[in-house]
Structure formats: structure tokens, C-alpha cells
């Protein structure tokens, strides 16, 4: 009888021990597996890669995926024609996740693989047909929608608020971008609402910039809206210089681009979005199917104002615009 009691006690004791152990294990943050994960990053400009490196990788490291320890990160960039080669090289590494900035890079990846998980960072994954819906993307893709096209209208409106007297507005468009039609649509709609004269200037390559600006001057453009696309983000400094030479006030995609010389920069908080993209990468690495992770939208928007550019152009910005400014470059 005694023996039965002791056995019972022992069983209970073991059960209790196991439970305590489980509880203590569960209480700790579950550390990701130590196997080296592979993350591939594909962009069209080195600046995008740089932003990824400085904004997203630290966020991943905080979630337990540390570059160089349990995460191998390889970064690729190339102009649109070069992308298929980059994707081929990238896929040979058999990455666990591919992080793409821009619709063009995503298209290039999807052209070669529909099975590799992709975290998309770009204009509109639903509109581009990469995902079924924001809430349930399905397939092997999730990511961030930066609402690039929608915000083109807002940017045009903001440019108009800053320079109410200038009605002949030019828009620098990146012709090969898959986002271009949506952006143009939004721009034209807003221009029509605001009663502005909008003229589009398409460029396909960096080499086309001077010609485009010459055309703008020829068309007596008073202000310039630079289309939201990673290419122009990468060439912000060059574009700003050309615009200043053409005496054109500009509004760009990101607040940080005002720092590069644009008069205004309005867009989502890029740091916040890259962090979120990092957490999505982490979730995919932890085994969550990409299609089950909702695509996130920006929550915060920031306006950057470059007062030096304003001064150089002899422009005084109205108080309503200044009131909205988050970053002021002087």
C-alpha cells in the first residue's frame, strides 16, 4: 500500500516538475531556432538596401534573428533590366524569405518563383495582383503597402497648399514602374479636383533626367511632383539638384527626401514601416505562412520641409504647411 502511495507521489511529483519546467520555459521568450536562416533583399537602388540594413535588420535582431549569427542576409540591387539576373542569383541561395522593395522587383521574383516567401515593401500589392486582399493576402506574399498612388494626390494637394499661386504642375514619372498607371490616375484626379494643369514627364533611366527637366522648363512648369518610386528615392539628390537648377519647387515621396534637397517630402514614416516589415520577416521565419499575415498600411505620415531650398527658390511657405512639418531642414 505504501508502495502505491509513493508511486502516486512520485508520479505527481514528476508531473509537477514537468509542469513547472514547462511554465518556466513558456514564460521565457521562445528563442528562434538556431539554424541559419537566409534572407535575401532585392532592390533597385543601393540606397534602399542601405535603409533596409539600417532600419530593418536591427528590428529583426531585436526579434532574435541576428545577421551573421543565425541569419544570413544577402543583398542584391539592379536596374530593371538587370533584375532577372539578380533574381536568379538570389534564388540559387535558396532564401527562406525574400524582401523586395518596389513592385518591379517583386514582379521579377514572381516571374521566376511563385513559391519563395516574399515580404513586399511597395505601392500596392493588391492592385498589382500580388495579394488577394490586405487582410488575407493568400499565396506566399505579405508585406507593407505604402499607399504610393493614393498619396500622390495628397502630395499634389500639399504642393498646391505650399504654392497656391502655381497652377502649372509637372510630374516626373518613372516610365518602367508598374505603379506608374495608378499614380498617374490619382494625380490626374486630384489635379482635376484642385483645378491644376498637370503635365507628365516620363523618364526611363537616370540619363533621361536632364532632358526631362529641359522639357519642363520648356513647358514653363511652375512646380514639380516627383513620382513615388524607389528609383527616384535613390536619385533624390540628383533630382533635387536638377530641380533647383530649373528653379522648380518639388514635392517628393519621403520626408527624408526633403533633406536631399526637395522642397517638400511627404509620405509614410519609413522607419516604422521597415520595422514592421522586419517583424513580418520574423514571423515568416518562425513558420507562419506568409499568406496568413495581413498586409499592413502606414499609420503615421511625416512631412519634411527644406527651408534652404525654399530660400534658394525665394519661396515663403504658408503657416498651414509649416504647421504640418515634422522634419525641417535648414
Amino acid at each position: 500500500m505504501l508502495w502505491g502511495v509513493t508511486k502516486l507521489i512520485r508520479v505527481r511529483l514528476m508531473a509537477a516538475c514537468c509542469m513547472l519546467l514547462c511554465a518556466s520555459l513558456a514564460a521565457r521568450a521562445q528563442p528562434p531556432e538556431t539554424r541559419p536562416w537566409r534572407l535575401a533583399v532585392l532592390a533597385t537602388t543601393p540606397l534602399s538596401l542601405e535603409v533596409t540594413r539600417t532600419r530593418m535588420l536591427p528590428a529583426l535582431a531585436r526579434l532574435g534573428f541576428v545577421d551573421g549569427r543565425n541569419l544570413g542576409v544577402s543583398m542584391y540591387w539592379g536596374e530593371i533590366p538587370e533584375l532577372p539576373d539578380r533574381v536568379r542569383a538570389l534564388l540559387q541561395e535558396r532564401p527562406d524569405v525574400v524582401f523586395t522593395t518596389g513592385s518591379d522587383t517583386t514582379q521579377a521574383v514572381r516571374a521566376q518563383s511563385t513559391t519563395v516567401p516574399v515580404v513586399y515593401f511597395g505601392a500596392d500589392p493588391v492592385g498589382q495582383g500580388f495579394a488577394a486582399s490586405l487582410a488575407r493576402p493568400g499565396g506566399m506574399l505579405t508585406g507593407i503597402s505604402i499607399l504610393a498612388a493614393e498619396l500622390e494626390g495628397k502630395r499634389l494637394d500639399m504642393l498646391h497648399q505650399a504654392l497656391p499661386g502655381r497652377r502649372r504642375i509637372g510630374a516626373l514619372m518613372y516610365a518602367p514602374s508598374p505603379d506608374r498607371p495608378a499614380s498617374e490616375r490619382e494625380m490626374r484626379r486630384t489635379a482635376a479636383t484642385l483645378g491644376l494643369e498637370l503635365r507628365l514627364f516620363d523618364v526611363a533611366t537616370r540619363e533621361g533626367f536632364p532632358a526631362a527637366f529641359a522639357a519642363m522648363q520648356e513647358a514653363r512648369i511652375e512646380a514639380l511632383l516627383i513620382m513615388a518610386t524607389p528609383q527616384f528615392f535613390g536619385d533624390a539628390a540628383q533630382l533635387a539638384r536638377l530641380a533647383r537648377e530649373a528653379q522648380l519647387p518639388t514635392i517628393c515621396e519621403w520626408a527624408s527626401m526633403a533633406g536631399a534637397g526637395c522642397l517638400l517630402g511627404f509620405g509614410p514614416d519609413i522607419d516604422d514601416l521597415r520595422r514592421r516589415a522586419g517583424s513580418q520577416v520574423a514571423r515568416i521565419l518562425s513558420g507562419v505562412p506568409p499568406g496568413d499575415i495581413p498586409i499592413e498600411l502606414p499609420t503615421r505620415y511625416t512631412l519634411g520641409v527644406n527651408l534652404r531650398t525654399a530660400q534658394a527658390l525665394g519661396i515663403t511657405l504658408p503657416a498651414t504647411v509649416m504647421a504640418q512639418a515634422d522634419d525641417v531642414f535648414e
Partner: protein, 660 residues
């Protein structure tokens, strides 16, 4: 099974069979029962307290979380309230816009702002995403954004999901004053995430918010919200929607784990805030308590086992000692004592036992001593009896021999008398013959005369020998007759020592007469305390003469063969005893061989050469001492060393004489 046996063996070693095991098991059972019952009660109480405490805490947490969510919305409302002051309807559109911009900057959650004037026409719309709209004049007068806000001052719209993903709600506040306008704000509810994740519930607990229909509004896992998750199927959510307030219960959480769920309703919004804590965490203290109880139980049982065993041993060991002591006592070891110092009942028992053993041992020893005494006495009596019997037999034998001898003597005496008398007569006749011859003178030839004279001489000589031996034979016969003579002479009381002295002298002279060159030292050792003894002097003197004569003869015998260093000594001594006197005659002569010693008192037994002794001396002496005087006559001798005859005469001899 194998370990079972091992445990039994261990148990058996720890608790030897019998009382100890019963005691130990009782102890273990008692302690275990006590520990188990207290442990169970403790567990039950801990369980109740833990769950009740957790329920209470959860409820408070839910309340607090609901307040924080409500505060978030109220904060937005109060910020929007800046644009609802009475004069706002009169300020310039530019100022209004400026105010809205500031409001948007102030409150990141507000995505869109809308000013609807008192008539229900939209006057200004600001959006973070879309171009601002000024004075669109769109009619909102029937829209709840306007109508409900005007009616209730504040209108909090239902939660809706923009683009099918992002949770939003519209908040509209009526302005102050008559015919108020309305400020409406679209609030991005994703920002409640900051509030919800900031709520800490234990270690692994979490909070989430649903609207009145059970759709998820805020959750630490943002993706659940963005997927427009409907939680109304969860029992706790369904319960909360159905009857508002309920006791926190254990249910599966949104991720399927068992959780203790509590909720609180935000009345102004109709939202429900759920606070859930994994059941495992709630029960952690219970498990800890269980663990503690079990460890205590195990320790207690072990202690009880050890203590029970120890106590039982303490109790059993003395009992066993007692038992072993009793057993050894029972087997006859009377010196067995039990060494127990304890002052308890067992100690008392042991002391009683020892007392009893002592008594038994004492009694036994007394008994043994008595038996030994009796045995010794009996042995002595037996010896005496045997001695007396021997003496009796000897005496009877001697007596019958004496009678036989006396009979023979009587028969021989007459013929012997004839022989003697006729021998003397014949000698006288030879004398007469010679005288007759002498008278005949010359008539008888000289030659004949010579011859006759020679023959007569021969005859005389022969006759003299006949006479001599006849007298000797006569003497023998007389001695033989002395055996049959009883109580001859008178018995009187006279001093012993002079009697002995006189007898010694007589013997000495007699011996000297027989052997002129005799060399022997006579020693006397008379005890003056001897005094007078009642005896027959003549008979007793004969005895002494006989003994001294024998002693002198023995020394002379030895002197013939011994070397020059030999000094013959005959020692006669007397001793006064308590109830008699002892006379001993000791010589250092040849001694008597062991084989002869038994026969020396028999008649006609002699060691002397034929013709020297009659063989009746000692026989007669024995008769005299034993029969006449009632004394004892013993001999002690060692061949070639000494012989000692010892005569014991009773001092009071009348009784003995009467008996004889």
C-alpha cells in the same frame, strides 16, 4: 516488481518484524494521513485562493484595461473638443484648417477630420491620405455623424474596417452653443495597439478588445485585428455579448490555449475588453503548493519511518533483552542479569526480573550447600559403617577362629599332659636305672655298663627334649585357650603411663635375654594428661609386651641387612584424646608388606621363621583390645620404613564392657 521487492527488503531491514513494524507502519500511516489530509486541505485552500485571487485580479485588470482603452478614446474626444468651442463657427476657414492641422499633429490616431456646419453641410475635410476638401457642401444632415452628434453631443460610430483590414471608428462631437456644427474624426484604432500591449497581465497574459459584435478591435497580435477577426464564437466573448457581466472562467483563448478570462465593458463605446491569463500561470502557485505539500509529505513519511523505526527499536531492544535474559535464565544460567537503565516500565520490569533471578540464585546456592553437607555427612557415615562392618566381620572371624583354636587346644591338652608326664616319669626311670646299675657294680661287665650308661644318657637327653617341646606345646595350647577365656582377671582403674613403662621394661629385658647383643633405642613419649584408664592390667600388659616384642624383632630383622648408619628406634607414646587415650608403638624396622597387612590379626599367621612365633600374639592382642576393652586396634606401615600400631581405648569403658 523487482523494485517492489527491494523496497520490502529495505522496509524489513528498517523495521524488523513484529512490534517494530507495526509501530513503524502505524507511525507512517498516522503521519502520512495527517500530512495528506493537511496537504489536501492546503491544496484546496490554495487552489481556491489562487483562483479567487486570480479572478479578482483579472477582474480588476480587465476593469483597468477597459478604463485605459476608454481613456484613449476620451483623450481623442477631448483633443477634438478643442474644435468645438462656441466661437469656432465664426472663425475664418483658414483658422479652422490650421486648428485641424494642429489637431491631426496632436493626435496621430486621427486620420480624417471633418467640419460639418449647423445645417449639416460639410465645410472642411482634412485627411492624411487625401487632398483636403474645403467647402464641399456635401449634405450630412441626416447622417448619424451629424444627426446623432447634434442629438447627443457626442457620437461614437461603429467600428469599421477600411480596405477590409484597418479598424476605424468615427467620432463626432457637436459644437457648443445653439445650432451647433459638428467635428467628426476618423480614428485609426490600430493605435489602441499601443494601449493594449502596454497592459501587463501576469507574465504571459494579454488583453484584447472587441466591439459589441465580437469583432476584434485591438489585440497585441496586430495581424489578428488586421484580418478582421470575429471572436464571437469564443465562449467568453459570446457570454460577454449575451449577458454583459460574468465571473471570469477558464476557457480556450483566441490562440486555443486554456486561459482564465475576465472582461469589462466600456459602456460609452459598447466595447468589451478581455483580459486573459494562461491557466498554467494562474495555477503556478497551486502547483508550487502541491509540490511543497508533496515534498513535505515525502519528508514527513521518511521522518515518520525513521522515527517509527527508531522508537520501535528503542522499545523492542529492551524487550528483546528482557526476553533473551528470561530465556537464558530458563535455560539455567542463574547469573544472568539484564542491564537496562531506563526508568520506564520496561526498566522496572527488568529490575524486578533481576531481583527474581537473584533470589532464585540465592535459593539454589543454599540448597546446593545443604545437599553438599548432607552428602558429606552421609559419606562419612557410610565410611564409618563400612569400617564398623569390616571390624565386625574381622572380629567375628577372629572369634570363631579363637573358639576353634580353644577347642583344638582343649582336645590336645590331655594327650599332651600324658606325653609330658610320662616323659618326666621316664626321665626319673632312667635315673633309677642308672642308680640300679651302679649298685649292681661289678656284676655287670664294665663294657656293658659303659654301654648302658651311654644309652641312658641318650635317653635322658631325648626325654629332656620331649619335656622341653612338650612344655612349649603346652604353652601354645595355653595361649590358644586364652582365646576362649573371657573377662579373666579383674578390671580396674589405674594410671596408664606407669603400666606402659613397666611393660616396656619387661619386653626390653625379655628381648635382651633372648638376644644378648640386641641394639635398639627405646623412646618414650608419654602424655601426662592420659591419667587413669579403666582396663584389665594383665591382659593389656600382654598386648604391650607383644607389640614391643614384635617392634624390637622387626628392627633386629632390618639391622641384619641394613648398613652401619641404621639406628633401630622403637617409640612408644601415649596421647590423651577427648574421649579416650591412644597408645602407639612405632618402630623403624622392616615394615609390613601391603599384602600381609590384612592378615596379621588372624590366628597362626606369622612372618617369623618356624619355631620362633606362634602366630597367636597379634590375634590375641586384637581380641584383648577390641573385645575386652572395646577399643580399636589399627596398623599403619610402610615397607622398609616403619610400622606403627595404634590402640585407642575409650575412657569411659563401663558401657563398652557392659556391651561386650
Amino acid at each position: 516488481m523487482h523494485r517492489l521487492r527491494g523496497l520490502r527488503v529495505l522496509l524489513a531491514r528498517l523495521l524488523p518484524a513484529g512490534l517494530a513494524r507495526r509501530f513503524g507502519l502505524a507511525m507512517v500511516g498516522l503521519v502520512s494521513a495527517a500530512l495528506v489530509s493537511t496537504g489536501a486541505v492546503n491544496m484546496w485552500v490554495t487552489w481556491q485562493e489562487a483562483t479567487a485571487g486570480a479572478v479578482q485580479v483579472q477582474r480588476e485588470k480587465a476593469q483597468a484595461a477597459a478604463e485605459r482603452v476608454a481613456q484613449f478614446i476620451e483623450g481623442i474626444e477631448s483633443q477634438v473638443g478643442w474644435t468645438t468651442r462656441a466661437e469656432w463657427s465664426r472663425v475664418s476657414p483658414e483658422q479652422r484648417r490650421y486648428d485641424f492641422i494642429r489637431l491631426q499633429r496632436q493626435v496621430p490616431a486621427i486620420t480624417d477630420l471633418q467640419y460639418i456646419d449647423a445645417t449639416g453641410r460639410e465645410q472642411l475635410r482634412l485627411s492624411r491620405l487625401e487632398p483636403d476638401v474645403v467647402g464641399s457642401g456635401t449634405d450630412f444632415s441626416t447622417d448619424p455623424v451629424f444627426a446623432s452628434a447634434v442629438a447627443a453631443r457626442v457620437w461614437r460610430g461603429p467600428v469599421y474596417f477600411r480596405r477590409g483590414s484597418e479598424p476605424y471608428m468615427t467620432l463626432s462631437l457637436a459644437h457648443v452653443g445653439r445650432n451647433p456644427g459638428v467635428t467628426a474624426a476618423s480614428v485609426n484604432l490600430k493605435l489602441i495597439w499601443d494601449v493594449v500591449t502596454a497592459i501587463r497581465i501576469g507574465r504571459a497574459g494579454y488583453a484584447y478588445v472587441t466591439d459589441g459584435a465580437g469583432r476584434l478591435v485591438a489585440h497585441p497580435d496586430m495581424s489578428l485585428v488586421l484580418r478582421e477577426t470575429d471572436l464571437s464564437r469564443l465562449p467568453q466573448v459570446a457570454g460577454a455579448i449575451a449577458h454583459g457581466d460574468a465571473t471570469p472562467t477558464t476557457v480556450p483563448g483566441p490562440d486555443g490555449r486554456q486561459v482564465l478570462s475576465a472582461h469589462a465593458v466600456i459602456p460609452q463605446l459598447g466595447w468589451i475588453v478581455f483580459v486573459e491569463l494562461p491557466r498554467r500561470e494562474v495555477l503556478a502557485p497551486v502547483w508550487a503548493s502541491l509540490m511543497q505539500t508533496l515534498v513535505l509529505l515525502a519528508l514527513g513519511t521518511l521522518m515518520a519511518l525513521l522515527l517509527g523505526g527508531w522508537l520501535a527499536r528503542r522499545m523492542v531492544v529492551p524487550i528483546r533483552q528482557l526476553q533473551a535474559g528470561a530465556q537464558r535464565l530458563g535455560e539455567g544460567d542463574l547469573r544472568q542479569r539484564i542491564s537496562l537503565d531506563s526508568q520506564d516500565e520496561i526498566g522496572a520490569l527488568a529490575r524486578r526480573f533481576n531481583d527474581m533471578a537473584g533470589r532464585i540464585q540465592e535459593a539454589q546456592e543454599t540448597l546446593e550447600a545443604k545437599v553438599a553437607d548432607r552428602t558429606r555427612e552421609l559419606a562419612r557415615s557410610l565410611d564409618e559403617l563400612r569400617l564398623a562392618q569390616d571390624r565386625l566381620v574381622q572380629t567375628e572371624k577372629l572369634a570363631s577362629l579363637g573358639q576353634l583354636t580353644a577347642g583344638i587346644a582343649h582336645e590336645i591338652k590331655n594327650p599332651l599332659n600324658f606325653v609330658n608326664n610320662f616323659a618326666e616319669l621316664s626321665a626319673e626311670l632312667v635315673q633309677e636305672l642308672e642308680e640300679a646299675l651302679a649298685t649292681a657294680g661289678a656284676a655287670v661287665p664294665a663294657a656293658l655298663r659303659e654301654e648302658v650308661a651311654e644309652l641312658a644318657e641318650l635317653l635322658r637327653g631325648n626325654l629332656a627334649k620331649v619335656v622341653q617341646h612338650g612344655k612349649r606345646a603346652d604353652s601354645i595350647v595355653r595361649n590358644m585357650l586364652a582365646h576362649s577365656r573371657e573377662g579373666g582377671g579383674e578390671r580396674r582403674e589405674l594410671a596408664l603411663n606407669p603400666l606402659v613403662e613397666e611393660a616396656m621394661n619387661l619386653a626390653w629385658h625379655g628381648a635382651r635375654a633372648e638376644k644378648p647383643g640386641l641394639n635398639v633405642t627405646l623412646e618414650r613419649d608419654f602424655d601426662p594428661a592420659v591419667g587413669e584408664v579403666w582396663l584389665f592390667p594383665q591382659e593389656f600388659t600382654r598386648v604391650l609386651l607383644n607389640l614391643v616384642g614384635n617392634a624390637v624383632y622387626a628392627t633386629a630383622q632390618r639391622a641384619q641387612h641394613a648398613g652401619p648408619g641404621y639406628e633401630p628406634v622403637v617409640r612408644v607414646s601415649t596421647h590423651a584424646l577427648e574421649d579416650g587415650v591412644e597408645v602407639s608403638v612405632r618402630d623403624n624396622g622392616t615394615g609390613i608388606p601391603e599384602a600381609m597387612r590384612k592378615r596379621i590379626f588372624e590366628p597362626f599367621f606369622t612372618t617369623k621363621p618356624a619355631g620362633e612365633g606362634t602366630g597367636l600374639g597379634l590375634s590375641l592382642s586384637h581380641d584383648i583390645v577390641v573385645k575386652q576393652h572395646g577399643g580399636s586396634f589399627t596398623v599403619e606401615s610402610q615397607e622398609g620404613a616403619f610400622t606403627e600400631f595404634r590402640i585407642l581405648l575409650p575412657r569411659v569403658a563401663r558401657a563398652a564392657m557392659g556391651a561386650a
